[in-house]
Symmetry: C2
DNA sequence: GTAAGCGTTGACGTCGGGGTCAAGGCCAGC
DNA sequence: GCTGGCCTTGACCCCGACGTCAACGCTTAC
């Protein structure tokens, strides 16, 4: 199989496959022309890579899985190095989710506070006749009228 | 105040301030030399920017807050455009946390499965005398011994 | 024979937020 | 007047995972 066919079969591009090869992740045999030649094994390697990429693994992190498959294992995660990557990834995900959750809470609190303050300002403006500083409110709602 | 002093006061670098200026986010007045000149207002603008950056806002997303402050509001989030950014960000964070949580569950499940399979293979090897394909196990634990 | 459609390598662009020179201007103190 | 420290602009460098040419070779169908 040549590069275009392999790319089609796993739903990626030839550029991507050449990039993987340049990283030493998916070396290809060459036929007489210098054309890259791939086998069915390579389909499985690539599927492994894409699956992990979809999980957010970066390319280097897929390497143990690929090497595990290439060394004859039925699954890419049958090797300790792969399992170690899983573990590290789970830890990173937990940490990241924790941070994002904390940030979410803070931004949510700021949002609530700002909404309340704006409601208060609007009421003040109603009562006193718009003493608050004016920003370009309304997000392009009535810019022409404001300009004219 | 000149650029170095401002950078020191908010804990950033002159390069960063020039970068912000190049993005139109923090324009500076110039004195006779061509040196950038800043006032106390700019300290507050910068603090607003850094706070939002710490929350993971990208530079463009801080722009409404900065313009809000510059238009005279006491807080950067007193304007509808800023509140809209808050809302969008909360939505993005919720979506991202959801995705990451799903990925975490999947990776966690794969990890558990792989660990169980490896335990099973180890038992098989114990029983039958290592018939499984060998990867370079051990993560540098006993490489010298394996090599010697 | 010639055009389409594959393949090859190499090089540069992308995105964000700056880091890190390089070459030179301005100003203060001694 | 000289040194040191600040300032100026401009330009290239970094990360990851490719996209997008450019310029060329091979193969196949007509």
């Amino acid at each position: 199989m040549r590069i275009g066919e392999l790319a089609d079969r796993v739903g990626t591009t030839t550029r991507t496959l050449r990039y993987y090869e340049s990283r030493g992740l998916l070396p290809a045999r060459r036929d007489g022309n210098g054309y890259r030649t791939y086998g069915e094994d390579d389909v499985r390697l690539l599927q492994q890579i894409r699956t992990l990429q979809d999980f957010g693994f970066d390319l280097e992190e897929t390497r143990p899985f690929v090497e595990c498959l290439r060394s004859g294992h039925p699954a890419g995660d049958s090797c300790p190095a792969s399992v170690a990557v899983y573990r590290r990834k789970v830890g990173e995900l937990d940490a990241l989710i924790g941070e994002l959750t904390a940030v979410r809470a803070q931004v949510g609190a700021q949002l609530a506070r700002a909404e309340e303050a704006m409601a208060g300002l609007a009421a003040d403006a109603d009562a006193a006749g718009a003493p608050a500083p004016r920003c370009e409110l309304g997000e392009a709602s009535d810019v022409s009228e404001a300009r004219g």
